[in-house]
Point group: D2
Chain length 339, copies 4
């Protein structure tokens, strides 16, 4: 069994990594760190792991992390930036789950993340870990920037459409909805049960930091700049993201062309499920899985294409995709521990 | 005290009408009908009314209904069509909460509602009861077609923009989200708790019957045909609708223009609340009220205008607006029983 | 209109007081204090009050509070203890919603609340505000200790049984369940949405501070000491308490005796609803109301009596009962603003 | 791979069986029957199984079922009674998940289930499948009656206490709380989302059919008749049961005696987790697992023992325990497919 380090193991993505690796046939969680809970058992923080993961949480010791075969960094934005270079210096491969190494252009960080990014070399070196479209680069990568939850749900359905030039790149609207675990484990007023149960709202309208990440991925697919509108919403449920995407079909493109394209691109992808009409994605159908469910409808009345995708924000949108990337990086079967 | 008849009192809109009228200073629920529960007490069906509304449900007797000062029809689509003409024949004013008298063009009914509409005369005569934009016609109406929940949440924010020609009428996308009570009181698989708790999904994509109702209202405002895309979603909560609307600003139109317009049109409307930035509508803030909360953001990057509204689907989206219409029709203060 | 001060207006009970008093025919919220939000508008904290309560929150100034006709203290346990004496010194009547003046025996505070209570004189003077059993004392009181949420749900059904000696006082088990708003507005880990949605648990088993409050009330009813077992649970819902109470019938006591007793004691109480079989209390039936719904079953197999009650923890369990007490103290109709 | 038949595969327990067996190392779902959905794909009913279980549902053909190595009957009470004898006639072992073969005394069925039970021979032959206390009998059984969800949550913690005579058998109160999936997949009014979200209630007070099942198990443990009080409640969550049990300690019995007993009895049980104080069971900690979490507190003030257990009603309370029984019956490792 290979050994995995999880730096920042007590957030929800850390917990999900522990859960997935505990069932993995080739890798096991071995070294878990936490600043706030060092000295406690992981199962004390997450009692569902009693009997299945009783590792003790430790303050990060980079050398210790370096004794593992793979290192996951599941840290807040801004913190990862400081720590990942040290982790890489151990010579081990790193999967970073923060946003700190996802954008290629350092100048975007002050605008969208609110901090100066001084690791341009690492930005250039890091590989964006969307395996369905970047598998070979992931295989060779030392540092994988694991995609954001929303960007995963958006890029998987939209990249093929832009690569094949079936939709207008200038007119993309994304209306996305996420469960509350997307906001992390730290208690805050908007996520206090009596505040967010029986409530629905949009947030960070026109300003969510996943916007440039999506634009970067779609621009690469389209071969030109993409500027789009992305509006996230908060759903009173624990897990899941549903993204509703509004596009304009290029003249002459028909519903069958979209269907044929998706089949060609995704027929052999183990984690993409194309839903035949009249089915539509629902978050509960992907809950706890690494699947991305995709459906679409062409609207003759308006000439619009509506694409809908569903993922589990903590699995395909975070820890599951990180394990998928790890599998590729370590030469394991890509679906190991994920089916 | 004036007397109100509620035909079809045991659905959720019927219940909400009883609740609102029980607190009304000038009108009281007097005659409640139900096909399935005739003979039972209303409080037996809805025990929260024990001690506050102990009326017995009766099979509809049109003459009895006609002894009341106002008649509400809270019946399923298709059923209202058959019954409302008889109610009108009593000479009393009727507020119909179904979709059966909302569309002016009879030919739209087979397409969107799935039935032939043979009451063209009533379609012509009925008044669409959106008081903020139709107050005088409501005052004189014998039959008010109470707007749908989604259409209310969409037309209140969009009508002024189209009337003032600040946005393109050709490029409107509406992404709407509703709590489960919008699906009515009859138990069905998709609304069974274990199916819709912890779940989020779109439904009736490109085919929801509220689409032509919204288009009709916006076309009247724009002075030309409007074809738009409307996508409803189901939120795991009981009440509330949040609509996120994507529009394209006309050249030269600025955020301040939108703000000024809304202030001019809605400053004196008792049930419209314009939220100043950085506030955004949330369904819990309008829960149980007749308010429609509205906010907007112009996105410089894409030239889009995002407008967001929140209502309680059962109040401003149904029974509350019906009472507002009743107040106008009976010459009572418009806010009576609604504040 | 009389004027009310609410000291600590931004917690959930404070908010509920503002809501109830905003609809009250004889009293209006006039002076709202908050330590953390002083200077902000109340509607900024609770946007549902936009347009209905736009008062500015202020740092507590005791003299200002004293210009009102009634003062509500909605402060945390331990803080009320320090502030209420000053409020009383203004000569105005005070309703305290904390636990600080509910127990007559000062020695119980270190055990159950974890602090020394040095205001024995006020403990003696304060009147326990359960109007159904203490109306006359409330009328004359300067300081009313408003009962706890759980104790209200338990004492209303059990006091008559113990007064009439129909059940054994030595064998009382209370299994109570509360919605999450009972834990207050401050975000904490156990009440973070992803932690308490889809979860159910007991808490403070054998050690909840409402235990001695219930025992004190039942002992007074029974005329002798009562020691009971009280186990609270957390339900993934916003509002509501359901208490299931297990008692042993005295020899020869029959179900009809219980029914007759309840009718005799509670027939004229406006806020008590006795449910005839087969009805059982449900929290949604009392949500947003000042009602306490009560039902019971005698179990022939075990000789036990099961009594079940439901209240809204924020209304009859807090703010609603406080307004009921205020009505009595100020000589207003007891149901004013509560129906 | 051995083959499993699931008769009645589209209810929630059927679905859960499919889920567990799809991950099982030695057995796979092979033959799925459904009356209402015959001809459809299982994944059409439960889209989360797209790509993982695409079996077609068939009308029950007993011979076909008999080609499998094990047969699960996941049918409604009363229906199982008719069908199981035919399934047994194939010579294959059967695990029945209904209540139809759990009670040894046929006379109890009319009282608690409302039907006459004419298969006394099968009642005598069937083995009650609570493996922790009945493992050897299960190993030899042809027909295992899989325990009810509530009875599992109650008997696992209480059987040892009664066997060791540490508590009074005459004074047992069980206050149990279940998520809504316990009510099955058929939509009904009380389980309609807007009815049971934000609601909590007791149901079937003094009359739930699991009462005699619990009494039968505890009587066997105590060596004498047990009559107890069992009150179930409905929690607004999908999965999980928490049972709070109130017992009276025998004179002289101490908290440490209870702890020592549990350790002795359950230390090596793979699916029982004894929680050390101050931990308490929470349903989310066992969600999706076959664990039963148990904690207890002795209350010095009342001499009572409070025992609390949590299980997932669909796993340890149904399908998981059925697979555990199957593992034993087929000579597989007991935890296969369950960890």
């Amino acid at each position: 069994m290979l050994k995995a380090a999880i730096v920042g193991a007590t957030g929800y993505t850390g917990r999900e990594l522990v859960a997935l690796l505990s069932r993995h046939p080739g890798v096991r969680p071995f070294y878990l760190t936490s600043d706030s809970y060092a000295g406690k058992s992981f199962a004390e923080i997450y009692p569902q792991f009693r009997g299945s993961c009783e590792l003790t949480l430790e303050k990060l010791d980079v050398k210790e992390a370096g004794t593992c075969d793979i290192i996951f960094a599941a840290l807040p934005h801004g913190t990862s930036l400081e720590i990942v270079p040290h982790l890489l210096a151990t010579g081990k491969k790193v999967v970073d789950l923060s946003g700190d190494f996802r954008l290629k252009e350092a100048a975007l960080y002050p605008l969208w993340y609110g901090y100066e990014h001084k690791q341009s070399a690492l930005l250039a070196e890091s590989v964006y870990g969307l395996p369905e479209h970047n598998r070979e680069a992931v295989r060779r990568a030392d540092l994988v920037a694991n995609p954001g939850c929303y960007p995963t749900s958006v890029q998987l359905p939209l990249i093929p459409l832009l690569q094949a030039d079936l939709v207008e790149a200038e007119d993309i609207i994304i209306d996305a909805k996420s469960g509350v675990s997307g906001a992390g484990r730290t208690p805050k007023q908007p996520y206090h049960f009596p505040e967010c149960a029986e409530n629905f709202k949009a947030y960070k309208v026109t300003g969510h930091q996943h916007t440039p990440e999506i634009e970067q991925g779609l621009a690469a697919a389209a071969g030109r700049q993409v500027t789009l509108l992305f509006t996230p919403h908060l759903v009173p449920m624990i897990r899941g993201i549903l993204s509703t995407m509004y596009l304009r079909l290029k003249p002459g493109v028909k519903e069958e062309d979209i269907a044929a394209l998706y089949r060609k691109v995704y027929a052999d992808e183990p984690f993409i499920r194309l839903l035949p009409a009249p089915s539509l994605p629902e978050t509960k159908d992907v809950s706890g899985t690494n699947f991305c469910d995709i459906a679409f409808r062409a609207d003759r009345r308006t000439g619009r294409l509506i694409v809908i995708s569903a993922i589990d924000n903590l699995v395909k949108g975070a820890a599951g995709q990180a394990v998928q990337n790890m599998n590729i990086m370590l030469g394991l079967p890509e679906t190991a521990g994920l089916m």
